[in-house]
Each structure stands twice: as C-alpha cells, then as structure tokens.
C-alpha cells in the first residue's frame, strides 16, 4: 500500500478521536471564556476604584498575569493546589488558569473602553437629572460596549487558541489527542495539519460571528 492511501486510512480512523478532542476543546474554550468574562467584570470595580488600597493590589495582579507565561500559571495551579489539599481535575485547573490570565487582559480592555468615553457624557447625563445608575446603564455602558466589542472579540479568539496549552497538564483536548495519536501511528505532520484545520475553522467561525455581531451593534446606535 502506498503512503498516501495508508495516511488516508489512518486519518479516517483517527477522525472520531479528533472530533472528540475538538468537543473537549470547545468545552474548555467556552467555560474559560465565561469564567474570564465574569472575573474581568468583577475586577473592573477594584481596578477603577479611587481608593489606592483597593486599586494597587488589583493593578499588581493584572500586571503579574499579563507579564508571565500562561503555561506557568497553569502549572502553578495544577502542581500547587494539591499541596494545599485540593485535588481538582485537569480540566478545572486548565480552565481556571486560562480564566485567571485572560481576565487580566479583558479588564484592561474594558477599562480602556470606559475611560475612552468622554467625561462630558457623564456630566451631561447627570445634568439632565439621570441618577448615577441610570447614567451608567443608559449612557456609559452602551457606548463602552460598542468600543470594546472589537478588542474583546480578539481576546476571545486568543482564549480559543490558548486552550491548546491545557494539553500540557493532560487534558484530552484536540492538541493532546494529536500527541497521543502520533505515538500510536506513524503519521505525524498529517495529524497536526488536520488539527490545525480544526483550529482554523473554529477561530474563523468565531471571528466571523464576532464581526457580524460588531456590525449589528454598530448599526443599532
């Protein structure tokens, strides 16, 4: 049998496995995105606080997360938590690691968006008698949302790509399935080329969806 036919058979046989890995990648991606978004919103208050005792530790956390590799943070959770008596699954460690880092990036995007809204918008809203909450809800947030949607979307795509790192702690997602499959079969680049296609489809679909969302939101205002 020639090489191409053999490769085709192997890839066909491995396809269900890859698909399974792909769904795990999707799960890791979705959970860590949701977690990162929630965490970033929670961090936004402290980050914008006028009280230095609250703001400075938040800033320190954000800078530490942004200036150290994600892989190391995942390792710290994975190898560190058992020392404290917790034994979460690889999935949980990976998802928490991704969320902890990306929340730091997301909160800076949100902050940039809020600060880019002119102070006058706030003053004008207050001047026509809006309460603080109403001003935030009807004036500041909608404009912020419009501005941050683009960079926020880019960050979400980076999260999807970063899910591949949880393979380092043994989560059976797409990249890990690839590594394991290579050890069992002789085809190597072919498998990773297939995996690359999976990721490419995922990131482009997400990218496309985000661009459509952006256009819709822009049209609403």
């Amino acid at each position: 049998m020639d090489y191409a036919a053999q490769t085709a058979i192997l890839l066909k046989g491995l396809f269900p496995k890859l698909l399974e890995g792909f769904t795990v990648t999707l799960r890791v991606g979705l959970v860590s995105m949701a977690l990162a978004l929630v965490l970033s919103v929670l961090l936004l208050g402290p980050r914008l606080s006028k009280n230095r005792l609250i703001r400075l530790p938040t800033e320190a956390y954000i800078e530490l997360m942004r200036n150290t590799p994600l892989l190391l943070q995942i390792y710290m959770i994975y190898f560190g938590l058992p020392l404290l008596g917790f034994f979460p699954s690889e999935f949980v460690c990976g998802v928490v690691g991704i969320a902890l880092q990306h929340a730091a990036f997301l909160v800076e995007i949100l902050r940039g968006g809020i600060e880019s809204i002119s102070q006058r918008q706030w003053e004008a809203a207050r001047a026509i008698g809006m309460r603080r909450l109403a001003a935030v809800r009807y004036v500041i947030l909608p404009q912020t949302f419009l501005r941050v949607l683009g960079p926020l979307g880019n960050q979400l795509i980076i999260i999807v790509k970063d899910t591949s790192l949880v393979s380092a702690i043994g989560v059976m997602e797409l990249t890990m399935v690839g590594k394991v499959s290579i050890e069992r079969s002789a085809v190597s680049i072919e498998i990773f080329a297939a995996i690359a296609v999976f990721y490419l489809v995922l990131t482009s679909v997400l990218g496309g969806a985000l661009r459509i969302a952006e256009r819709h939101t822009a049209a609403r205002f």
């Binding site: 800078e63 530490l64 942004r66 200036n67 150290t68 590799p69 994600l70 892989l71 190391l72 943070q73 390792y75 710290m76 190898f79 560190g80 020392l83 790509k161 970063d162 899910t163 591949s164 790192l165 393979s167 380092a168 990249t175 690839g178 590594k179 290579i182 190597s188 680049i189 990773f192 080329a193 995996i195 690359a196 990721y199 490419l200 990131t203 482009s204 990218g207």
Partner: protein, 215 residues
C-alpha cells in the same frame, strides 16, 4: 522559607539565559520576516498579496503550540535531522512573522492617501515615496504593537518546554517534580519572567502615549 528556591536559583538562572537567547533570536528573526513579508504585501502584485493574506490568515488562526508541534515533526518527516531548538525556533519565527506582517501591512495602509498624493505631485519616485514618506510614518504607528507582539513572543518561548526543549519553564518543572515546592519555584520563575517582560510592557505603553501626544 525560600530555601528550595534559593538552592535551585543558579539552575533556574541558567534556564533564564536560554529563555533570553531563544527570545532574542525568535523575536529578531520573526520581526525581520514579518517586516519583509508585510512590505511585500504592500508593494507586490495581486498574487503576492493573496499569498501573504493566506499566510497571515492561516498562522494567526492556529495555536502557536500546534505550529511548534508541526515544526517539531516536520523536520524529520522531510528528512532533516534537527534538534528540538531549531525545530521549535523556526516554527516560532514563522508564527511571529505572520503577526508582524499584519502589523506592518496595516501600519503602511494607515498612512493617509493624501501624503502619497502630495509626494507624487512633488515629483517623487515610488521608491523615494516609500522610503521618505510612507515608511517613517508607518514605523511610528507600528512600534507599539510590535513591542506588544515581542512581549507575547517572549512569553510563548515557555511553550517550547512542552515539546521538550530545555529552558526556564522546563527547568522549573524539573525542580518541582523533584522537590514538590510548586509555589516557591513557580512563583520565583514567574518573577524572573516578570523582570524580563515588565520593562518591555512599560516601554510599549510609553511609546503608545508618546504617539498619542504627537498626533
């Protein structure tokens, strides 16, 4: 309290030196490749543009770890015997190149068309316009994102440990597997990465601010 970290510090610093070298090489060549590719996209014909667009689209859409693994397995499959460093290094250069190409291309495109029209009406040649009008303005726009991109690239060098190339993160894992002092070692190593990356991030932010002032 920090005795495990202190005892292993020389070993970690050796790893840090490898990380620094790897970063320097990967960032330099990756940026060089990206600048060349990005400029080609701006001056080249349709075919070149299509090729560059494809390159940028494909590479930016897949995780760097997958690109590294591809590089790692591609060398032997193509009949070359390359060590792990060379394989992941080349993979990373190609990966970074795509991001840099996109930055350079959009920076050149962001130079106002009026500038080029004005240069043409002064009778400047195409190459002169590129060299004296477009590039100096594009460079100013491109510097902050290029610095941020280098920062990402430095952090990404830690992923080569997954493929089996020894550097700071690999060294950290070795020590943790031996001593179980996960927090000490990983926090210590984070501090080392922070010392490498934070100055660069401050520089990037400073450049961004200066650019805003200038406009």
């Amino acid at each position: 309290m920090l005795n495990t970290l202190l005892a292993n510090l020389p070993y970690l610093l050796k790893g840090a030196v490898v990380t620094l070298w790897l970063s320097l090489i990967v960032v330099t060549f990756g940026t060089l490749l990206g600048v060349i590719v990005g400029l080609c996209a701006n001056v080249g014909g349709r075919l070149v543009q299509a090729l560059v667009t494809t390159y940028v689209f494909v590479l930016r859409g897949i995780p760097v770890l997958v690109v590294m693994l591809l590089g790692y397995y591609a060398f032997p499959a193509l009949g070359f015997r390359a060590n792990a460093y060379l394989a992941v290094g080349v993979a990373q250069v190609i990966y970074i190149g795509a991001f840099v190409a996109e930055i350079v291309r959009s920076a050149v495109l962001s130079v106002p068309a009026g500038q080029i029209a004005a240069a043409k009406s002064l009778g400047m040649l195409r190459i002169g316009i590129l060299r004296h009008v477009v590039l100096p303005q594009a460079a100013r726009i491109a510097v902050p994102p290029l610095l941020n991109n280098s920062l990402t690239a430095i952090k990404q060098t830690s992923y080569v440990s997954v493929v089996g190339a020894w550097e700071l993160t690999y060294a950290a894992r070795e020590i943790v597997e031996r001593t179980l002092a996960a927090f000490q070692i990983f926090l210590g190593v984070m501090a080392i990465y922070f010392l490498i990356c934070y100055p660069l991030s401050l520089l990037a932010r400073w450049c961004e601010k200066r650019l805003l002032v200038a406009h």
